[in-house]
Symmetry: C2
């Protein structure tokens, strides 16, 4: 295999692009895709400081890396979920990265905000762990950005993440989720910052290759709660489709964004107002995060010191 | 396992309904689902004669069987595709069924209308066989119904068929196909009869069980051209989803019909007019069927006598 650009020996084949690249030209390709995403969806300008939500994994650190390289003003946000060793290690990866690149890293502890670390929160809700965790992360990302004055939060969601989320929403035709599925969610209220996903054009394999080739030190382990998550089985299923027809994931996600999303957008009109408990925006009276925090409090979770990694296994 | 209705020994478990039935109560359940489909979508009334398109397979013969039992006025339509022994055998099954139930069966030969049998047609088009075949069937069903004065054509499409078609359309977000996906397509032009799918609430397993328990003699073999068809791999994939979460197919199809289809319907407005070659309706100048027939003629397919099953294997 030869690099499409220079004819040199290729390091990576991208079947859905019917192309192969050597290391330097793959890095160039990767950065171009990020630039294209930012440009196409007018995600942010060079006058703004972008808050990059980092988990310590390959995607978010690759994103932060590209944005710094491309000269954007950035700051990192690490949300400490209190998930035993996994959180300890992933936080260390983020801190090391920030130090190496001379960037600010904000750290927020979920346990402080919601009243207990995620493993305790999970026990008091009947929903899957990922559900309460995702809710908490979205809430805290927005709150942190508002507090520090950043107009936009960038997350490391890649093509595989977005396609799997879309797949899940489509299986149940969750029209509200379909309306929100976008690489760039605008601020529709003064208390809601923009949310953007500059890696949505790049696959999981591509972000992994970028992180590896750029020498980024990231946490390889998956979150211990992810095992058996529906999103993973959807990813597997999409991978099978991709194998038999390269580009299937891309066509599924991009076809939705181009052709179908406009149809759903017209269906959903939501009215945002301040949560009467915390002041962040909600469509109801009390926001979902405050309801969760209240549940945690009433059920008595989080009484054990939240700092100590639990001795028992995660599952 | 016990029958949900009578407590007797169950013959069939329906996981997505969290139920099991003995033979007589399964037949009752099956007929109720057909009645519900007819009623919900106002498919036809008892004053109308329904043309049932039959292939000789379990689904269409089960449908015809139920409609006769329920006292509807029906006539069958068999489209002879000229697919070697498969067509010979499936036609014999339809003729035997019609004779046994004392019903009229119309037979149309695709080779006569399009100029060559399907295996020859396939050779001159670059599209998959199922594509030209489906197009020809839809065209001839409509033409036959108009000629004989039937206001509505009923086909044997089941839940699995409909979910697989929807899945294929969703993977590419074919908004025109999504608009047309419905258990009941109205007549939007005097030259277009209604098309209905009274089995859309019943799975492939359920129609097979009905056909077996009712003693219907149907052709078990699949069409030889179906091997490797995309629709089959989509069915497989949906079956895997269904296995891990019973009701997945049902939720996918019904969720679409209830929640998402209205969004697409607003997107598509088509203008129908008579084809300048054959007079049936089209959105263009010449309809797709006449274009196909013209291609068959120009490429010289169909010169061999279309009646003789070809001696070579089908694939």
């Amino acid at each position: 295999m030869r690099c499409r650009k220079c004819g040199g020996s290729a390091a990576l084949e991208l079947r859905r692009h019917n192309a192969a690249f050597c290391s330097p030209h793959f890095i160039e390709f990767f950065k171009k895709q990020v630039a294209e995403a930012i440009h196409k969806h007018r995600m942010f300008s060079r006058d703004e400081t972008i808050m990059v939500a980092v988990s310590g994994g390959k995607d978010s650190l690759a994103l932060w890396d590209v944005l710094i390289d491309e000269g954007y003003r950035t700051a990192g946000l690490y949300l400490d979920l209190g998930i035993f060793d996994y959180s300890v290690e992933s936080r260390a990866k983020c801190e090391a990265f920030a130090a190496r690149r001379g960037q600010t890293l904000h750290v927020e502890r979920v346990a402080e905000a919601v009243g207990a670390p995620i493993p305790e929160v999970q026990k008091v809700t009947r929903r899957p762990t990922c559900s309460a965790c995702g809710l908490s992360k979205r809430y805290l990302m927005n709150r942190a950005a508002l507090e520090h004055g950043y107009p936009v939060v960038a997350t490391g969601h890649n093509l595989d993440d977005e396609a799997a989320t879309l797949f899940g929403s489509v299986l149940h035709w969750q029209t509200d989720a379909l309306t929100r599925q976008s690489p760039a969610l605008p601020s529709t209220h003064p208390k809601l910052v923009r949310r953007v996903k500059p890696l949505y054009r790049l696959s999981e394999l591509e972000t992994a290759a970028y992180a590896f080739l750029s020498g980024i030190d990231y946490i390889v382990e998956e979150c211990p709660f992810a095992t058996g998550a529906t999103s993973l089985s959807h990813k597997e299923l999409l991978n099978r489709l991709e194998e038999s027809s390269p580009g299937a994931k891309h066509n599924f996600l991009f076809g939705f964004l181009d052709k179908a999303r406009p149809a759903f957008e017209r269906m959903e009109e939501v009215d945002l107002r301040p949560c009467s408990a915390c002041g962040q925006v909600t469509t109801g009276e009390i926001c979902a995060f405050c309801k969760l925090a209240d549940l945690v409090k009433r059920r008595g979770a989080g009484r054990a010191p939240a700092d100590n990694p639990a001795p028992e296994p995660a599952r």
